[in-house]
Amino acid sequence: MTTWVPIVAGSAVAFGVTYFLVPRLIPWLEARGIRGVDVHKRSKPVRAEMGGLAILLGFVAGFGVAFLCQCEDVVQLIGSFLTILLVGLTGCADDMFNLGQRYKFVLCALASLPLMLVFNLGSTLWFPLIGFINLGLALRWLAIPLGVTTASNLTNMLAGFNGLEAGMGVIACGSMGVLCAAFGRTSSALLAFVMFAAFLAFMRYNWYPATIFPGDTGTLLPGAALACVGIFSRLEFAAISMVVPAAIDFALKMISRNPFSHRRIYGDSVPLDDGTILPPNYPALTHAFLNVSRMNEKKLVTVLLLVEALFALLGVLLTIALV
């Protein structure tokens, strides 16, 4: 029973701090000109950006409280926490100074250094049908930086609709928390649940119609948290399953000629009078759904969250049934 105390206390604090901070952060960000246009609405309202800062601060406060009551896996917890924090700070820097994509990759890879240094949990990865694949030292020195960088940048790319980033963070971190708890990995469950609580509180303000956007701070965080929790708990396959929708989106964007300048060349999606969205003509997961069925933003986000929930469920069930 005592193992649940840090998780419950940390999650409650993370939720409370994020919920308290977001409404106070909105005027502060707007006064400093950190704002973005909600391009999927006809009226093009301008909203505060970088709301992920509240998630990050909520996570830091929640983790701090949980850490005071936690006695196990202290070193691994600190390593994972530092990695998530550094990725969040990279997002802050990107929101403020508009870093290029290559700098984000490098900074996220550097952010994974604390996790690499404290990782001592083996050299194998588990996959269904195959079993354990031995990667030797490459797991620590190659797979961890690649995993953190890839996961955080994938969740960063599948974004831009009200409630999508927060919703994906809630589903992914919540599912990983449940899975870690089911496997008795309470230290990694702690990280997942604290992040889940912070995203849940943020979702109240980010859900359609959003009053604040997460910015890159909020979109890089779920991927980094997933990668850290997955690696720390040794349940990497479940974490990989949860980034599959974002990975499909990334793969689709990469097959076109100008993968990093789509918005400049093709423009944004166009919201029509009936609220539905007309997608621009380049490959992306959201555009595939919008091409097949005309939807408004809320319905599109619901469908994408359903897809994410499906993959989360698959990852959890396959891991529980086959490991």
């Binding site: 694949i133 097959i255 097949v292 469908v303």
Partner: protein, 77 residues
Amino acid sequence: MPKNVNNLGLLALICLCLGVYVLAILGMYVSWSIVRPMHREGAGFVTLFTGIGCFALGSITFWRVSLKLAKRRGERP
């Protein structure tokens, strides 16, 4: 809410997403079965890269099928 939401099309796309995932796992399984008996050390990397390749292939197929579905609805030329 618009009246012309194509639920069947959406369901087809969700199934295709699952198909991409299954294709990647099956690709890894086939690769593992072939490579592992031949070269034990590098088998893990070959398997991982095959999985990524199958995933990319599946994603391209996903996009093409989505365009065909859109064409059938008259949404895209």
